[in-house]
Symmetry: C2
Subunit: 450 residues, 2 copies
Amino acid sequence: MPANNNERPRVVIVGCGFGGLEAARALRKADVDITLVDRTNHHLFQPLLYQVATAGLSAPAIAAPVRFLFRKQANVTTLLGEVTAIDPVQRGVLVKDGAALPYDHLIVAAGATHSYFGRDDWAAYAPGLKTLDDAFEVRRRILLAFEEAEKEVDPAKRAAWLTFVVIGGGPTGVEMAGTLAEIACETLPGEFRHIDPSGAKILLLEGGPRVLQAMPESLSESAKKQLEALGVDVRLAARVTAIDAGGLQVEPAAGEPYRIDSKCIVWAAGVAASPLGKQLAEATGAQSDRAGRIVVEPDLSLPGHPEISVIGDLASAKSYAPGKEPRPVPGVSPGAKQMGRTAAANILRRLRGEATRPFRYRDYGNLATIGRNSAVVDLTLPAGNLRFSGLFAWLFWLFAHIYFLIGFRNRIVVLIDWASAYWSSQRYARVVSNIEHRNAGVAPQPTREA
Amino acid sequence: MPANNNERPRVVIVGCGFGGLEAARALRKADVDITLVDRTNHHLFQPLLYQVATAGLSAPAIAAPVRFLFRKQANVTTLLGEVTAIDPVQRGVLVKDGAALPYDHLIVAAGATHSYFGRDDWAAYAPGLKTLDDAFEVRRRILLAFEEAEKEVDPAKRAAWLTFVVIGGGPTGVEMAGTLAEIACETLPGEFRHIDPSGAKILLLEGGPRVLQAMPESLSESAKKQLEALGVDVRLAARVTAIDAGGLQVEPAAGEPYRIDSKCIVWAAGVAASPLGKQLAEATGAQSDRAGRIVVEPDLSLPGHPEISVIGDLASAKSYAPGKEPRPVPGVSPGAKQMGRTAAANILRRLRGEATRPFRYRDYGNLATIGRNSAVVDLTLPAGNLRFSGLFAWLFWLFAHIYFLIGFRNRIVVLIDWASAYWSSQRYARVVSNIEHRNAGVAPQPTREA
């Protein structure tokens, strides 16, 4: 698409997660004007967000100012703002309280938010983990639950304060449950006078038949065993049917429904595409899937709108490898990054008058950590898959995450925090800045799409 | 005061700032039961709070969990709770939503909060700097002001976003103004496309005739010059008469009143004793001074209530050095710490049936930083005073502060953050977790007394 009137082509990128960031970087030498708009001022390294929620890391350690990341890339203008709608006819991005941003090429990488499967009222009782504010809220609830238990004299109420339930056995749920067990058994003992934190109950509820369903079955089994060794009560095929301020109702696949009294519930179950996806699908006539993700063309553009690409968690995309059937792309950060690079490359191709290319996802594997010394790794190598778990997997996970903290000048700080936490079992960021809003019944957190 | 019925004497300490923390530590070998109650879960290293507000440090770097600090001191029970009143007749401390804590000896170290000199409505437009939440709010306003300026097309409105006013020329105001100048001139340039951050105006307004009035006049003059070298517009004898969402009204000692349009105003002017002081004074008949501080006996106890000591910013105390006139104790952290030790020692003396001793403040001097490489130091040495300023003073300030981060396992992390910030002019913690509530007109922050 040629630029209008002597100007350079205008590329607007919505969202500065892994996909948007990578797309902007891939255009660093392009003769275009990029506007990168996000509703926060930072790029969040989401794979470590659970560490902020469990007081292992401070927020700035995993959040890099977007402006700083692009200070030397002169063709990028960073804009803090919430995108409310996209106008594919006028080719403009509407920003709340601001002017519309005109574009010649648009990359929408607005990401995902929690989904409570239509039960948005559960958000007040079981916060999810997508933004820094979410992480602060979860941290506050975890730390204050132990404080309340220390003060409580009624044994039943005390037990409810000391029962922690994580809903959802994906990577985030597994990491949360494992880390909660560590906090209870290794970090806090000795600090309380009326309770024994190591007596806390940590439950991980998963509706499906196994945890980490994206991983091979043998690693799911290994993860479950490692969690149980840490003291986590893993319940599979356990569907949550109700959540309230005092606990939740569980319907197991076999047996009677039962209730768990708990004052600290973390939601790691459902993910839905950003609400922007719905508006964009309606405006362009694109299809969206059950989770609200937009079904994209092989080159990641929208049908009839080659100037719009959708990437990352907002896209329902397929990978096109030569000689193979197209396969769905998993919702992981390498997928988002690779889509960002492909979308950027396709913009450059169109500017040169060339045909775009289909997206091809390169799967390097999958990894999840469970706790100190515990992790599972499933690497996809040319010679075949390499699967391992335990201490070596954990070390692999650790260095992979520190390596990918690219653009964060805090890799050393994160390393020190972890090294120190490792040797002392202490957790550095046990700070609650505001003890209000700690109980269930607070207003749901605003959702963030970018 | 003997203990009741075979039990060990119960000591309750209200507040875990410098004074309360030191008192509890000084009783570590005493055969007493200590309850330490605070409304936050952390001890805050307040001298570095301005670094959190200006994105130089993360919150956990200057906030240590109280529970962790006392995990090995078996005679301390830590309690998270807000003290609402003290009952000197029944000898109980009333905690919100909880049972009264009975005491045989009480140390009240509830500290101070902002004072807007009766204009509490100003709090919404000019947040102060006492708690972590305050620091987050100031950080949010500073960072978002530059973001809004980048988006603003109207030159007058843009100028208001780029005008930062610090009210109050004490140590906090001087540190804030100096650091703001650094952010504008060294951290942010190059990151914006429509504004030049180094064109931002930083004003420091002081009602009195000089900044740092607790320091010798020569150092006040030096501090002013160093601030001006950084680009800060220092206005002395400038009284603020009104603050609103768009700026403030100034009445200079000489000349006409004038208005400054500013969207980011920081309050570093007034300090008032915790509201608990008023209740305690009324309940015990003790006198309080104009700032609400309670006038204590030479041994820091209350008249007629030898079992109650008041220390730190809540106390209007005098120092009794042999052969000298009693002198007021300044409201600085070494004063609070020393009072904590004296109050603890006097409890031990009373338990042994000995007479208590008057408080003696040992003044080791005073120091304030202004910016990178800039500080003023006034040391009180046996051989006389040693005063210096500039780079060497700054290095002295740096190491003194890192040294006193006692109990914080983050001294190394703080050092790395600072070293990195020093060499790169970057600031690590430029994170705004929530872009809401950024404008004037939000509800005032809740004040924290402990």
